[in-house]
């Protein structure tokens, strides 16, 4: 019983971190993709969208090979900073972040692209710096799409299972998130625990989807 709440709070922490990271990464990259013209732009978009379509096991394997103790990134961090990502909270956050990134990226890019550039130009002419234009004009105009994307990303990160299991393992209190706890409970035949866990995660996800529904622009049309 108590372990269910530990798993829930861990899941919320992982999803929270993943969403925060995606707010910076996803919005930044989406803005760059929407505003800059450069060769290979659509290729970058496609590669960053991959986590949404790739099987989680493929993603988990990529991560295991890259950030594992013997992987190029993992070995570097281990040698120079003594950081081990595999089987750690950070590993779970990385997996959830990458899996949820496309959701922020896609909706934020679409939101940026629907903004009439005249607003931004007008703000510039009126003397705002480019940074101020972004934070005071562009971002507020794209707010709805971005917030909806972030909520979906949060829900996706909360439900992340496959890649997390491969990279972060299943350590109670450290990397055993709600979805992994469900899997383990079912495998061990602990149906009572599983029932509680799926109820908690279902209610949380419904609340998020309701919130997304209220923010989606089509509602107003």
């Amino acid at each position: 019983m108590e372990s269910a709440w530990i798993a829930l709070s861990l899941s919320l922490k992982v999803a929270g971190w993943a969403t925060a990271l995606n707010a910076v990464l996803g919005i930044g990259i989406a803005w760059a993709l929407a505003r800059w013209r450069f060769p290979g732009r659509e290729l970058v978009d496609a590669i960053l969208t991959l986590p949404m379509v790739l099987p989680p096991t493929v993603l988990g394997y990529y991560l295991l090979v890259l950030i594992g103790r013997n992987g190029p990134i993992g070995a570097f961090l281990q040698q120079h900073f003594g950081i081990t990502l595999i089987f750690s909270f950070a590993g779970a956050v990385i997996a959830a972040t990458i899996v949820a990134l496309p959701l922020v990226l896609k909706s934020a890019r679409a939101a940026f692209e629907t903004i009439d550039p005249q607003f931004e130009r007008a703000a510039k002419v009126l003397g705002l710096s480019p940074v101020a234009v972004f934070f005071r004009v562009t971002l507020p105009l794209a707010r709805r799409g971005i917030v909806a994307g972030l909520l979906l990303a949060f829900a996706r990160a909360l439900g992340e299972f496959g890649a997390t299991l491969m990279v972060a393992g299943s350590i109670p209190g450290r990397t055993q998130t709600l979805s992994i706890a469900v899997y383990e409970a079912v495998q061990a035949g602990q149906d009572a625990t599983a029932n509680l866990l799926v109820a908690v995660v279902s209610v949380t996800c419904i609340l998020i989807l309701l919130a997304v529904g209220r923010l989606t622009p089509t509602r107003q049309a």
């Binding site: 594992g68 595999i86 089987f87 299991l165 350590i171 383990e184 079912v186 495998q187 061990a188």
Partner: protein
């Protein structure tokens, strides 16, 4: 000119039709076997199919506890081969097993393995040595569903200076099957792990056996026909094949011990 929407649907239907066309018409025997049996059972299935022309064996591998849950939930399985008596006993208690068909068909040894690159000084020599600071992370099958994990837990509890399992609490990395433990050790992601000798033998270049674990009870593999087996006659012949000379030869080749020992 087909509109994109219909083209998408057409594509999906074609893919579905093509995949449906490959389904075999002959009798299919579904065998759920413990993860550690993977390589040996693939060969046994081929040998059995040779004796039963037209019939096919579908192999389903996972931790024994996972397989048990699938069976309890109504999976249409014919033969269940578990890595310990306890899981088979639980299946029996749940009324899933045709008890008359139950046979012990193999034995095994639990070992502690380390990545092959581990320097000699850091290789633990006993269960007590796992407490050393040079061993940071130890992979073990989740004792609730993986027999190898349960054997390891029992051995640690029985070893002198008891409560060995709890003492290593901060080092455990729980795996979903004994083969995942093998993979974690082979990749060097953990410093040690509990697997069977037959698993370690599959990756001789990448893992090294540190020491065999003195088991508190022998590692033994029972197999049985399930009560709701779709193909009970074929299932019985498969279980008998395991204890017959052909089956035993293949198992021995993969390093399994005869069931009696």
């Amino acid at each position: 000119m087909i509109r994109p929407f219909f083209r998408t649907i057409l594509f999906a239907l074609t893919a579905a039709a093509l995949s449906a066309g490959t389904t075999a018409q002959s009798a299919e025997l579904t065998v759920s076997a413990a993860a550690s049996l993977q390589n040996a059972f693939r060969e046994i299935a081929v040998a059995w199919e040779r004796e039963h022309p037209g019939d096919r064996v579908l192999l389903n591998f996972a931790a024994s506890g996972t397989l048990l849950q699938q069976i309890i939930q109504g999976a249409p399985v014919d033969v269940f081969a578990s890595a310990d008596e306890e899981t088979m006993d639980r299946a029996t208690d749940k009324g899933q097993v045709d008890e008359a068909t139950r046979r012990d068909f193999a034995g095994n040894t639990l070992v502690v393995i380390v990545p092959a690159r581990t320097s000699a000084a850091r290789i633990p020599g006993s269960l007590a040595a796992l407490q050393a600071s040079s061993v940071q992370r130890i992979a073990i099958g989740d004792p609730r569903s993986v027999p190898a994990g349960r054997y390891a837990q029992a051995a640690l509890q029985a070893a002198p200076g008891a409560n060995g399992y709890q003492a290593l609490e901060t080092k455990w990395i729980h795996a979903q099957s004994v083969r995942q433990v093998l993979d974690y050790v082979a990749r060097g992601e953990v410093d040690a792990g509990f697997v069977y000798a037959t698993d370690a033998a599959l990756m001789k270049e990448r893992v090294r056996i540190a020491f065999p674990v003195e088991a508190s009870k022998p590692v033994r593999y029972p197999a049985a026909v399930l009560r709701h087996a779709p193909q009970p006659a074929l299932a019985a012949s498969f279980v008998e094949f395991l204890v017959a000379p052909q089956g035993q030869d293949i198992l021995a080749r993969f390093g399994f011990a005869p069931p009696g020992q």
